[in-house]
C-alpha cells in the first residue's frame, strides 16, 4: 500500500478515536464540576482535560479565566485547537476524503455525514444545557465508524492501518485519563475514601465505559489500585492498555514487509510488560511514573510506525 494512503487511514482512525475520548473526558469533567463545591477543587477539575492533552498553554494564551463553558468551547469547538473535537472530526473527514477510493463508501459516508451533522449543533447548546447530548452523539458516531469499518472493509493493509491507528490512540488516551487522578484530582488526605473520592473514581470508570465491568469483575468497592489494574492490565476490558496492545501487536504483525521489526519489537515488549506487571509494584514505585513511561513508549512506537511505514516522521 502507498505510504501516503496508509498515513491518511492511520490518522483518520486516530482522529475519530481521539474525538471519542475527548468527548468522554469532557463528559466526565462536566459531571465532576457539579460535585466540586470548593472553588479550588473546581479549578483543579477544569484543569484536568487541559493537562492530559497538554494544552494548558494554548488555552491560557487565549483565555484569562478557566470556566466550564470556556473550557468546553475550547476543547470541543475551537478550530485553532488541534485536539478539539471539531478539529478531530474535520481532519478525520479530510483524510477520509483523500483516500475515498481505498476505503469503503460506507466509511466515507459515515465520516462525511458526521461532519455535516456537526453543524446542526449550536455552540450555545454544546457549552450549555445540551453538552451531554453532544458528547453522546460524538461517542455514537465513533462507535458507528468503528463498526462500519470492521463490518465493510477488506482484511488488508487499509484495515491493518486503521486498527493500528484506533488502538494506539486509545491506549494513549486511556493512559492519560488514568493519569488525571495524579495531575489534578489528587485528593487531600482527609478526602481519601470520602464521597468526593468515590465520585471521582466512579466518574473515571464511567468515562471509559468500565463502571459496570468493574462491578462484574471485582464485586467490590471502588479501590484505586483495582481501577488502575482494570484500565492497565485487564485484557477483557476493551479500553485497557493491555487490550489495546493485543490489537496493536496483531495489526503490526499482519502488515506485509520485512522492515517493521523495530515497531513490532517495541509493541511486543509493551504487550509483555502489560501482561506480566504487578499492580502492587506499580503503585509502590508510583502510578504516575509508570503511566509516563507508557506514554513515552506509545509516542516512540508512533514515531517508529511513521518512519517505517508512512514515510513521515
Amino acid at each position: 500500500m502507498l505510504s501516503r494512503v496508509a498515513d491518511r487511514i492511520f490518522w483518520m482512525s486516530r482522529q475519530m478515536e481521539r474525538a471519542e475520548n475527548m468527548a468522554r473526558v469532557l463528559g466526565v469533567t462536566s459531571n465532576l464540576v457539579l460535585f466540586s463545591s470548593r472553588d479550588e477543587q473546581q479549578q483543579k477539575t477544569l484543569l484536568a482535560p487541559l493537562s492530559i492533552t497538554e494544552t494548558n498553554e494554548a488555552y491560557f494564551a487565549s483565555h484569562k479565566k478557566l470556566t466550564l463553558p470556556a473550557l468546553l468551547d475550547f476543547m470541543a469547538l475551537d478550530e485553532t485547537n488541534p485536539s478539539s473535537i471539531f478539529s478531530c472530526l474535520k481532519w478525520a473527514r479530510e483524510n477520509a476524503h483523500a483516500v475515498r477510493w481505498q476505503i469503503t463508501s460506507e466509511m466515507w459516508e459515515t465520516l462525511n455525514a458526521t461532519w455535516i451533522e456537526l453543524k446542526n449543533f449550536k455552540r450555545k447548546d454544546i457549552v450549555g444545557a445540551d453538552a451531554t447530548r453532544f458528547f453522546d452523539w460524538v461517542k455514537d458516531r465513533s462507535h458507528l465508524f468503528r463498526g462500519v469499518t470492521y463490518g465493510t472493509i477488506v482484511r488488508g493493509e487499509a484495515f491493518n492501518f486503521s486498527r493500528l491507528g484506533t488502538f494506539l490512540e486509545r491506549a494513549d488516551n486511556t493512559a492519560r485519563i488514568l493519569d488525571v487522578k495524579y495531575h489534578i484530582l489528587l485528593p487531600r488526605v482527609e478526602d481519601v475514601g470520602g464521597a468526593l473520592d468515590y465520585y471521582q473514581w466512579a466518574a473515571l470508570l464511567r468515562s471509559v465505559s468500565a463502571f459496570a465491568t468493574y462491578r462484574t469483575l471485582y464485586r467490590a468497592q471502588i479501590f484505586p489500585i483495582k481501577v488502575a489494574e482494570l484500565l492497565l492490565f485487564e485484557p477483557r476490558m476493551p479500553r485497557s492498555l493491555a487490550a489495546c496492545f493485543v490489537q496493536v501487536r496483531e495489526a503490526l504483525e499482519r502488515i506485509e514487509g520485512q522492515h517493521g521489526k523495530g515497531a513490532q519489537r517495541l509493541a511486543g515488549e509493551m504487550h509483555a510488560r502489560l501482561t506480566h506487571s504487578d499492580i502492587e509494584e506499580v503503585f509502590q514505585s508510583g502510578l504516575h511514573e509508570y503511566l509516563d513511561e507508557c506514554l513515552d513508549d506509545i509516542a516512540e512506537l508512533g514515531t517508529r510506525i511513521q518512519r517505517t511505514y508512512l514515510g513521515t516522521v
Binding site: M1, L2, S3, H97, S105, H259
Partner: protein
C-alpha cells in the same frame, strides 16, 4: 430564441408529413412508446438516485458540506449501426496513426516540415513543442497513447472531426458508468437488441500502458498519477486506477533515485515503470518545468529521457492537437500513410492568414471562432447564437491578435431525442471515441456522447451545462 438551423436527426427520417424512424432506433422507439409515462418518470428518478448513491461516481469535490455535482445523464441512448461504426473506426485508426507519426517526425527527422507540408515555424515555435523530446525514441513510436477524437455529425449526415484531444483526454469513466447504469435500469433493452460491449476498456487501457514500458519489459508496474483529490477529474483518475487494478499515486508518492522512479509504500520503495499521468506537462517535473509545481516528481524528466520510465501520454503532444495544427491533419494522413483521409475535417480559416481573416471579418455572424489553445467551450464565439454586441466585442478581440484564432462554419450538430422537463425533445449531441495506441490501435465501439441540454445550444461541454448519454453500437 436561437434560429432553427437544418440538422441531422439521429432517430427520425427527414421525409415530410409523419416522419418515419431509422431502422436502428425502431426497437427503442417501440420500447419508449410501450412505457407508461409514470414508469418513465420513475426510472428517471431511480437513475438520479443511483447516480447520487452509487454515484460517488460522478462526484466533483464541492463545498464544505461535501455536496457533489452530478453531470446530467439522459436515459435515451444514442445509437450507431455497426457498419457506420466500422467506417468511423477505420477513420479513427488512420487519423491517430498519422498523428503519432507526425509527433515522432517533428521530434526526429522533421520530414513533413522539410517537405513544406506544414510551415516549420508553426510547429517549432509552438508553445507546446517540447525541446526535451527531440531525438528521444519512444516504445512503438507512440506519443498519444490515449486520444479522444471529438466527432460531430453535420446536416449532410457526414461525420466531421471537431478536434483531436491528444494530451490527457477525460470522460471515459462516464462512458463506462453510463453503460452500467443503463444495464441496471433497463436490462430488458439489452435483450431486445445486440449492443456491443464497452466494459473491457480498462483491460485494453492496461495493455496499452504495458506497451509503453521501457525496453519491452514483460511485467511492468503501472500507476495512475493524479494531481490529487481536489482535482475535478479525480473521480475518473481513481476510477481508471481501480478498474485497471493499479495504484493511484500523487506526485509526493513518487521519487527518483539512481536513474529510476520509485513509489513509497508501506513495504518499502517499489519501482514504477509506466506512469499514466493525468497531470499536465508543465507540472510533471519541477526541476525541468514549473518550479512551483507540487504535483510532479523532481527528476522525472531525466529518468524519462534515459528511457527508464514510460509516460502516457508522452510529453509535447499538445503541438499536434493545437487548433492551429488541426487544419493540416488530413495532409498528415496523405503524407505519412499515402491514403486519403476517411474522416473529414471541418473547413477552417486560420486567421493569421490575411485572406482568411478578411473572410472571417465579413462573415463573423455566421461563423464559430475559437482560440487556438482554448478548450472546454471557453473563449469561443458562436456567431449565429450571439447578439450583435457580442459579435462586435469578439471582433475586437480577434483583431488584437488574429493569430490566436481560427474560424469555422457553424456546424449544425445532429440531434437525438432527450428527456427534458416537457417530455422528449431533440437536443444536439457530439461523440468522443477513445483511441488507444500501444503495439497496435485499439478501442471499444462507441465512446462518450455528450448532449447540450439547453434547447438549440451547440455547446456540449459538461462545464457549460452539458449532459451525457449511453452510446450504443448495434448489430
Amino acid at each position: 430564441m436561437p434560429p432553427r438551423v437544418p440538422h441531422f436527426d439521429e432517430m427520425h427520417l427527414p421525409d415530410g408529413g409523419k416522419p418515419g424512424v431509422r431502422e436502428h432506433y425502431k426497437s427503442i422507439v417501440e420500447w419508449l412508446a410501450g412505457m407508461p409515462p409514470e414508469r418513465v418518470a420513475e426510472k428517471r428518478r431511480e437513475a438520479d438516485l443511483l447516480f447520487h448513491r452509487v454515484g460517488i461516481t460522478f462526484a466533483v469535490y464541492g463545498d464544505q458540506a461535501g455536496a457533489e455535482r452530478l453531470i446530467p445523464f439522459d436515459t435515451i441512448p444514442r445509437i450507431i449501426p455497426r457498419a457506420e461504426w466500422e467506417l468511423l473506426a477505420a477513420g479513427l485508426k488512420q487519423r491517430v496513426n498519422a498523428l503519432n507519426r507526425f509527433m515522432h517526425d517533428i521530434y526526429h527527422g522533421q520530414d513533413i516540415l522539410k517537405a513544406g507540408v506544414i510551415p516549420a515555424e508553426q510547429v517549432l515555435t509552438n508553445d507546446a513543442y517540447q525541446i526535451a523530446m527531440v531525438g528521444l525514441d519512444l516504445p512503438n513510436h507512440v506519443y498519444s497513447h490515449v486520444a479522444g477524437i471529438d466527432l460531430v455529425r453535420h446536416s449532410d449526415g457526414g461525420y466531421y472531426v471537431l478536434e483531436d484531444n491528444l494530451r490527457t483526454p477525460s470522460g471515459v469513466s462516464y462512458m463506462i458508468e453510463n453503460r452500467n447504469m443503463m444495464m441496471r435500469l433497463f436490462p430488458e433493452l439489452f435483450a431486445r437488441q445486440s449492443v456491443l460491449p464497452v466494459e473491457h476498456y480498462p483491460g485494453l487501457l492496461l495493455d496499452t500502458m504495458r506497451a509503453a514500458a521501457p525496453r519491452g519489459m514483460r511485467d511492468p508496474t503501472v500507476v495512475v498519477l493524479t494531481p490529487g483529490h481536489h482535482n475535478s477529474a479525480y473521480f475518473e483518475h481513481a476510477f481508471v486506477a481501480q478498474q485497471m487494478g493499479v495504484e493511484l499515486v500523487e506526485g509526493a508518492d513518487l521519487f527518483v533515485k539512481d536513474g529510476y522512479v520509485y513509489m513509497r509504500t508501506t513495504g518499502g520503495r517499489q519501482r514504477v515503470d509506466v506512469i499514466y499521468r493525468r497531470v499536465d506537462d508543465a507540472f510533471l517535473d519541477p526541476l525541468a518545468f514549473r518550479p512551483d509545481s507540487y504535483l510532479g516528481v523532481p527528476g522525472l524528466l531525466s529518468v524519462y529521457r534515459a528511457g527508464n520510465v514510460g509516460l502516457a501520454n508522452a510529453l509535447g503532444t499538445g503541438v499536434a492537437d493545437d487548433k492551429s495544427t488541426y487544419p493540416y491533419v488530413p495532409d498528415m494522413v496523405r503524407f505519412y500513410l499515402a491514403e486519403e483521409p476517411i474522416l473529414k475535417n471541418v473547413p477552417t480559416w486560420q486567421l493569421k492568414k490575411a485572406d482568411d481573416l478578411a473572410y472571417a471579418m465579413d462573415n463573423l455572424a455566421t461563423l464559430v471562432v475559437k482560440e487556438v489553445q482554448g478548450s472546454g467551450g471557453y473563449g469561443m464565439l458562436i456567431g449565429p447564437t450571439s447578439t450583435k454586441k457580442e459579435v462586435e466585442a469578439f471582433r475586437a478581440r480577434i483583431l488584437a491578435n488574429p493569430a490566436n484564432y481560427i474560424a469555422q462554419p457553424t456546424l449544425s450538430l445532429s440531434t437525438c431525442p432527450t428527456f427534458v422537463e416537457q417530455g422528449i425533445a431533440p437536443r444536439h449531441i457530439d461523440l468522443r471515441p477513445y483511441v488507444l495506441s500501444g503495439r497496435e490501435v485499439n478501442f471499444v465501439p462507441g465512446g462518450l456522447t455528450r448532449v447540450a441540454l439547453q434547447e438549440g445550444s451547440l455547446v456540449v461541454n459538461s462545464s457549460q451545462g452539458g449532459g451525457t448519454k449511453d452510446t450504443w453500437v448495434v448489430e
